[in-house]
């Protein structure tokens, strides 16, 4: 009896110590993530400028559906998402498989070089890209000199090319980042699996699709979800390369929220509604990605 008592006391004590270790983090996450998230939900049913807000039910949500700027922003964001995320993931996967080759020389150099873009701030590299891709910028100068184009491409001022510029920029910045995840996962794969496949006469393409991709599935899922979340929130690049223009051709949802709250007459309620559209999109896309990848393996 005495023993159970002291055991119990030890357990309560350890439960309390455990909570004291995690408490600060839990409080901060609730205060700075979940509470604002709830606030945004309440805001999304209110309207007015500044702090003069009144409840208007679903008015903001019905306004969304007929808001042309919103629809264009969603369209742009999805173009980035559908083109850039797969492109980057395939590229990162391909590079990491090459870098994982045991006979490859200068491995460290290639890895560091390709990872290097990750050390720049989104703002800094965006400004550099803005100048590289400007009308009389270096990219056009080089393309003209190499006779690849006959007239300079309007990278920043043409609606189509401006989107391409943004896609090139994001791919440059994030491919190396994703590559590191694949590279570390590849190093955990037992090499004898490949040896056995080689003996069975499997080509390197078959090895890639038969061994590498299935074994990397959880990590591919992880990177595609984080990239999707990142792209849905795209802001820094567009703000600093094209400012959302020409017209609204490159504007993203995040930028529209920023404009609604801090550039135009501060419409916090409607901006919160637009922000909830991102929440819903992230939730839906993550569920889809989990289902496609098969959550049993994920």
């Amino acid at each position: 009896m005495h023993q159970t008592n002291s055991k119990l006391r030890f357990r309560t004590k350890s439960v309390l110590t455990g909570w004291s270790f995690v408490l600060l983090a839990v409080i901060l996450i609730f205060v700075f993530y979940f509470y604002p998230m709830l606030q945004a939900l309440i805001l999304s049913f209110q309207t007015g400028t500044g702090s003069n807000l009144t409840f208007t039910g679903f008015d903001n949500y019905s306004r969304l559906l007929s808001d042309k700027t919103f629809i264009v922003s969603v369209k742009n964001t999805f173009i980035y998402l559908l083109v850039q995320v797969p492109l980057m993931i395939i590229l990162a996967l391909f590079i990491s498989v090459l870098l994982n080759d045991s006979k490859l020389r200068f491995k460290g150099f290639f890895r560091t070089a390709i990872f290097l873009p990750c050390v720049t701030s989104l703002v800094a590299y965006s400004v550099v890209f803005k100048y590289l891709f400007s009308g009389n910028g270096l990219v056009n100068t080089m393309l003209l000199k190499l006779h690849l184009v006959s007239a300079p491409i309007e990278w920043i001022t043409d609606p189509f090319w401006a989107k391409i510029t943004i896609i090139i920029a994001i791919t440059w910045r994030w491919t190396g980042y994703n590559m590191i995840f694949y590279l570390s996962a590849l190093q955990n794969i037992d090499h004898s699996i490949y040896e056995a496949a080689k003996i069975d006469g499997a080509s390197s393409t078959r090895q890639f699709f038969g061994i590498t991709v299935p074994l990397l599935k959880p990590i591919i899922l992880f990177t595609s979800i984080t990239s999707t979340i990142g792209t849905l929130q795209l802001f820094d690049e567009v703000m600093n390369i094209t400012k959302g223009g020409p017209g609204n051709a490159t504007q993203t949802i995040s930028q529209y929220i920023y404009n609604l709250s801090f550039k135009y007459a501060a419409d916090f309620g409607y901006a919160a509604t637009v922000s909830y559209s991102i929440v819903i999109m992230i939730a839906l896309l993550s569920v889809i990605q989990f289902k496609v990848a098969g959550d049993k393996n994920g």
Binding site: S14, V22, W172
Partner: protein, 274 residues
């Protein structure tokens, strides 16, 4: 066949490496050239580095922004490591069903887009400003507080704690150390690589943070480096050489942190992936 495959492998990797490095080279080279030469696409180093730097110092509050960025990033990194490692350790060492549930709820916060948080957070700090101006809008605290705790870093520390030898924990308890004593005296020194990797990740994201500081920092005296660079780039007659030196200076801290701790970074990433 095998030989040509090898050739294409090297060719592809070389192109990828050149494309990755080129904007850096261009930015460094351009910081030594006059604005005119930058627009002309000059690719050779020039002699205008000091002049560009002087212009930057004369026309902007470079030192102020550098100091602001340094203060914010270092404070954020130290606090973030402390909070997240305590939590990661706590969740893994003192496991219980209720704690696992709380942990999973915390992980959900990773899915919350910052876009959904920025307006309520801005209003929150606006209200704080009315009561405690020193921690409201336009202060370091308002930048640090919302970014200092991330579920990712907690997750990262919890994953790494799985590899922490539990015998050390028992040994510490036998020796009569308190739980906090074990954490500080045994866990912290043992997990140096994890702390290093966590420091790199946090420092980089804090140094490079843009959207939240853009919203909350409103006077030139509180500007951080990304805000400074962003305003330089938006002028009508930009001085390219001067902007490039600003970008170079803004990139040096994160590049240094990365190169000095590269090994730990990769090791830490691998730890988090396992």
């Amino acid at each position: 066949m095998a030989k040509s495959k090898r050739f294409f492998m090297y060719l592809f990797l070389s192109i990828a490496a050149i494309v990755s490095i080129f904007p850096f080279l261009w930015m460094v080279v351009s910081s030594t050239n006059q604005s005119v030469d930058v627009t002309r696409g000059r690719l050779l180093p020039g002699t205008h580095l000091l002049e560009n730097l002087r212009k930057l110092l004369d026309t902007t509050d470079l030192q102020v922004s550098l100091m602001n960025s340094a203060k914010i990033s270092i404070t954020t990194t130290l606090l973030a490591l402390l909070i997240a490692s305590l939590a990661g350790y706590g969740f893994e060492v003192f496991r219980s069903r209720s704690k696992d549930i709380v942990f999973n709820i915390l992980l959900l916060s990773m899915m919350i887009p910052f876009a959904a948080l920025m307006i309520p957070l801005y209003r929150m700090f606006g209200q704080i400003s009315n009561v405690f101006p020193w921690m409201g809008i336009d202060t370091m605290t308002s930048v640090i507080l919302p970014t200092v705790t991330t579920a990712f870093l907690i997750f990262f520390f919890r994953q790494s704690t799985k590899m922490f030898p539990k015998e050390l924990l028992e040994a510490g308890r036998m020796d009569g150390l308190s739980e906090l004593g074990i954490f500080l005296r045994i866990y912290l020194p043992t997990m140096k690589t994890t702390y290093a990797a966590g420091a790199i990740i946090t420092f980089m994201s804090s140094w490079n943070n843009y959207l939240w500081p853009l919203i909350v920092l409103q006077t030139p005296q509180t500007k951080t480096m990304p805000l400074l660079i962003s305003t330089l780039g938006s002028g009508y007659a930009p001085d390219y050489g001067m902007i490039m030196i600003a970008i170079v200076i803004g990139t040096i801290p994160t590049a240094l942190v990365f190169f000095v701790m590269q090994k730990q970074f990769v090791a830490g990433m691998i730890g988090s992936v396992k």
